[in-house]
């Protein structure tokens, strides 16, 4: 803006006289305005001109002025610019073009990215560019998703206006994810590295009713608009979310997909997906169906919360393998289910389990997939103890006395070491799967802007993944940057002070690390205590393409939220954060035990 104004003032000095003639028609009005402002003196020509310029600037701000299109529509101005007779197309418009009634590019002027009532008439423009809308998926009162492509290599896509009989919507081009479309490249015979594809998603609370086909206008910079007719696909919000996330996971890019995807998520797609997901989550957890099977223990010392998704058999497998172990009678079990289609099976299994194993299970059935965090939060709200254990369905006892030992740690350990703690977990092959978690930061280069732009992404790693089972450095009691959500023992009061799991994350991934970082932020480090369980990682639920998309969004969200904290003392396997310093009395030699001490170790208890 400042640059344009300097250009205007410079030009004014050279061409003032000729311009003033053209402005006389408005002089009277301007004069009146000056009088109204209390200036009794007649304004000079320079003052008149300056006010005129300001008036036009207010009418057409430079931010909304399409420079390229103005030059294309006015070839003489283009030539004048090339001859350096004018500073810019915008400067020309202010000085001459407006008064001369020069053609200016048009573009939708409505507020963008919000649902609006329909206008009485749509500005239907002729088809100008090659392009198509492959899908418009709409969930009334929730959101929509649009997928298509356009040849906008010369004139970039500005916005997309969708007009139905009852509503209209303008999606800003900057919020669209641009993706590679090899089919479009083939159709256009293009060899340029241009992402012809676009993908947009928008969350809204109201509107979006579907009644017949809609008009879609693809507006490009330069005033080009391409008008298409499209019949929207109606979908439930669950389907809309899954479709969008699956598209995200399968999208192609020029460059590293993870890096390019992060960039696009930051531009708006991520925020919209999170908003859609959060609205769904709130709806799903609002009215859970809760039923108790078997006689519950009156005052349980701890509550085991298991979140099920896609696989019902883990209820009876866990009941079978947890039942009868020393100390297990002190626990209550809550299974929260993110797969409503499993409800009937689970209720039958829970009923049978109470008969076969004598296990009391409380079932919390949600109406959809609320994700790991929200589901566990919902289950914790109905727990009857002040100690909650978040346990994955594919976690099973390795140490038969784990339940008794866990209570021993909780009851005898210092509070700050037991408010949030994890345990070593093992693969079915006997090797270590988890001995705590630490953080790394990956730097990827995005090439979409024409030059490499670094993108920083957080990554969570497990200590000791695949290590020999008796690797003391990973199994000993110690503070760690994070613990896996596959097994978390939490003081319920502390858990609630932390606000529980953050519910913005989609499906699952990163909520565990996020919770640990919230705890560290509030002054309590997560610990790991040597109580051993199996973890058949990744086998406890089904995983499909939408979950991959969810993971991408979660990584983006997690990185946005925590990268500064991580880079400030929590980075790498040996973080320097003061809360993670091993207290002297907890220091145990890194030396691995010999065979005899291994045998002894089997009989020892954890040392919090």
């Amino acid at each position: 803006m400042a640059q344009a104004r300097r250009g205007v003032l410079a030009a004014r000095a050279r061409k003032l006289k000729s311009i003033v003639v053209a402005k006389r028609a408005n002089a009277a009005a301007i004069h009146s305005a000056a009088n109204a402002s209390g200036n009794g003196d007649l304004p000079t020509e320079e003052m008149i001109f300056q006010r005129e310029i300001e008036r036009i600037e207010a009418l057409v701000p430079q931010a909304l002025f399409d420079e390229a299109a103005y030059l294309r529509l006015n070839p003489d101005v283009q030539r004048a610019l090339e001859l350096r007779q004018i500073e810019s197309g915008y400067a020309h418009y202010l000085q001459h073009g407006h008064a001369e009634g020069r053609p200016v590019p048009s573009a939708p002027t409505e507020s963008r990215n919000v649902m609006l009532p329909s206008s009485p008439r749509a500005d239907v423009a002729p088809l100008r560019s090659s392009g198509a809308v492959d899908a418009l998926v709409i969930t009334p009162n929730a959101g929509l998703m649009i997928v298509g492509w356009i040849d906008d290599s010369a004139h970039p896509l500005n916005c997309i206006r969708i007009i139905s009989a009852e509503w209209r919507l303008v999606l800003d081009g900057s919020q669209l994810m641009r993706v590679r479309r090899t089919d479009a490249e083939k159709a256009l015979g293009s060899r340029t590295r241009h992402p012809f594809g676009f993908f947009g998603i928008l969350h809204f609370e109201r509107g979006g009713a579907i009644s017949g086909s809609v008009t879609i206008e693809l507006w490009q910079h330069g005033g080009l608009s391409t008008t298409l007719q499209c019949t929207p696909t109606p979908a439930e919000d669950v389907e809309l979310r899954s479709t969008a996330l699956a598209y995200l996971a399968g999208a192609e890019f020029f460059g590293n997909p993870a890096v390019e995807c992060m960039g696009s998520l930051s531009q708006g797609v991520g925020t919209q997906l999170l908003a859609l997901n959060q609205a769904m989550t709130r709806r799903i957890v609002a009215n859970p169906y809760i039923e108790q099977f078997g006689r519950p223990r009156a005052n349980p010392k701890a509550t085991i919360v298991v979140c099920l998704y896609g696989k019902a058999e883990f209820l009876f497998l866990q009941n079978c393998l947890f039942a009868g172990l020393p100390g297990i009678d002190e626990y209550e079990f809550i299974y929260v289910c993110n797969s409503p289609e499993l409800a009937e099976t689970l209720m039958q299994e829970a009923r049978s389990a109470s008969l076969v194993y004598g296990m009391a299970n409380k079932l919390v059935i949600l109406s959809g997939n609320a994700g790991f965090g929200a589901a566990n939060n919902a289950a914790c709200r109905v727990a009857n103890s002040n100690r909650v254990l978040i346990v994955n369905p594919d976690v099973f006892p390795k140490d038969p006395s784990w339940a008794a030992r866990h209570l021993e740690v909780v009851e005898s350990g210092p509070t700050d070491r037991t408010q949030i703690f994890g345990v070593p977990l093992y693969y079915d092959d006997g090797s270590l799967m988890h001995g705590g978690m630490h953080f790394e930061v990956d730097v990827g280069l995005s090439l979409s802007g024409g030059q490499p732009i670094p993108t920083r992404m957080c990554r969570v790693e497990h200590y000791g993944k695949g290590a020999p089972p008796e690797t003391v450095r990973y199994t000993r009691s110690r503070p760690v940057p994070a613990i896996t959500g596959a097994f978390m023992s939490l003081d319920r009061t502390w858990f609630e002070e932390l606000g529980g799991f953050t519910e913005e994350f989609i499906f699952g991934h990163y909520e565990d690390a996020d919770l640990c970082l919230k705890s560290i932020e509030k002054g309590v480090a997560p610990w790991l205590h040597d109580i051993r369980l199996w973890h058949l990682e990744g086998k406890g639920s089904t995983r499909q393409l939408p979950h991959e998309g969810g993971s991408l969004v979660n990584r983006w969200l997690f990185s946005q939220r925590w990268i500064s904290a991580i880079e400030n003392g929590l980075l790498g396997p040996e973080p320097t954060h003061p809360l993670l310093r091993l207290p002297p009395e907890a220091g145990i030699s890194d030396k691995e035990p010999n065979r005899s001490s291994r045998r002894r170790r089997a009989a020892t208890t954890a040392t919090p």
Binding site: F316, L317, C320, S352, L355, V356, Y357, G358, L536, K539
Partner: protein
């Protein structure tokens, strides 16, 4: 003393070794004073007419103390009872019968979890489990026969089992083992009909001291009247049993083909049995093609004759037309009831050198063993049996009497800890 015998199928509905042994035990226990046996035989929904509306457990054909467990919604993956009403009915049945001993002869169609339930309902009862194959260890029908190359499997592990079932993951097999072991931990005593099984289950980490060898026993179907003809040659061979893959009739037919190709055709093979429908497509096609081709040969020139199914009443007639019995099983044949049946009729056996047959048959003394799964080795044994003078007579003389039902019952009574019930213990033993 009340003993509940739990069986897979009733032998009069579906033939099979496990149910036959269980039923013989039931009948024999009924004759022992002080013992009240009750039979609960599981059937599957293919016996639709026997499923009475709303019933989960019913009687069987008006017979005292015989009941049918009407299995439904059985979970074949986890071998688990999935119908809650059925589980409740079983629990109620236990409470009504109040057995002192519950003797499982299988978990198939019942659910291995019913063992755990039995312990919960009857904490003081003795639970006995008889293994009739390796189904707890091996997901390949308990045969420990690797599906991709038909080699015998020596031990199970998550990765080895995954190799047999690549569509599943090692973790499934890990959990499967944990699942079975947890339920089997409710058992007081295990029994196996062959000793080699003890080591197999012990190496699977079942407590060895809890595993006992109790032989299978049968009534003497020959009634001491085994017909021995005195023909010029001993070149008539018989196969008795199921025509399913692991019983190896296809291997026998290949051996016949090898001998015929070699110009040796002076022998006959009588095939007695059925259930070809349960063979794999590949084996069924192979067997059917062989038999079809054989049927085109003039009767006097044929080697193989297919006689179809038989009952124990027909055993004497069928045995009378053979000199030798062949047991070509390609798996760890557990016991081989057919060996006992052949011995009742004093027919020497030619059998695979694995599992129960290898344990029971003394090579060159009462039978011949050939390399398991090897048609050439079997062909060689057949040729030798036909041509070696004095061989049949020598092996015939070496044949011992097979175990009787009484010997089986006497083997089970200590396992039942019958002395805990003095009245039964004194009278029954």
């Amino acid at each position: 003393m009340k003993i509940l015998l739990i069986s897979l199928y009733h032998p009069e509905l579906v033939r099979g070794g496990a149910q036959q042994v269980c039923y013989e035990l039931f009948r024999s226990l009924k004759r022992r004073p002080g013992i009240e046996p009750v039979l609960l035989a599981a059937i599957d929904p293919s016996f639709k007419a026997l499923y009475k509306s709303g019933a989960r457990i019913t009687g069987f054909d008006g017979r005292p103390d015989e009941y049918l467990f009407l299995s439904r919604d059985y979970d074949y993956t986890w071998h688990k009872a999935s119908c809650h009403a059925l589980i409740e009915s079983y629990a109620e049945f236990l409470q009504l019968v109040r057995p002192d001993v519950v003797h499982f002869h299988h978990f198939l169609l019942l659910g291995v979890d019913l063992i755990t339930l039995t312990r919960r309902i009857l904490p003081g009862a003795r639970i006995v489990f008889t293994f009739h194959e390796f189904m707890a260890i091996c997901d390949a029908h308990g045969h420990m026969l690797r599906p991709y190359d038909n080699s015998l499997c020596s031990h199970a592990s998550p990765v080895r089992c995954y190799q047999c079932f690549p569509e599943r993951q090692p973790e499934y097999f890990f959990l499967r083992e944990q699942w079975f072991k947890r339920h089997l931990s409710a058992v007081d005593s295990f029994t196996v009909p062959s000793r080699f099984m003890i080591d197999r289950y012990a190496s699977w980490e079942l407590e060895k001291s809890k595993i006992h060898h109790v032989t299978n026993g049968q009534p003497d179907y020959s009634r001491g009247q085994a017909t021995i003809e005195r023909p010029h040659k001993r070149n008539r061979f018989g196969f008795f049993g199921q025509l399913v893959d692991n019983k190896g009739v296809w291997l026998l037919l290949r051996a016949v083909q090898l001998l015929r190709s070699d110009g040796f055709a002076d022998f006959t093979v009588q095939i007695n049995g059925d259930n070809l429908k349960f063979a794999s497509d590949e084996r069924r096609t192979e067997i059917e093609a062989f038999l079809a081709k054989e049927s085109c040969i003039p009767v006097g020139e044929r080697i193989v004759y297919f006689n179809g199914s038989y009952s124990v009443d027909q055993l004497a007639t069928r045995m009378a037309s053979v000199d030798w019995c062949i047991v070509p099983s390609i798996w760890w044949e557990i016991f081989g009831l057919v060996i006992s049946e052949a011995w009742m009729f004093k027919r020497p056996i030619i059998a695979s050198n694995a599992g129960g047959p290898a344990e029971r048959i003394s090579h060159e003394k009462d039978g011949l063993l050939f390399q398991v799964g090897d048609a050439t080795s079997l062909a060689h044994a057949i040729r030798r049996a036909c041509t070696e003078k004095g061989l049949w007579d020598r092996l015939h003389k070496g044949i011992k009497s097979p175990p009787t039902v009484d010997s089986m019952v006497n083997g089970y009574l200590p396992v039942y800890d019958v002395r805990r019930w003095p009245t039964a213990g004194a009278q029954a033993v």
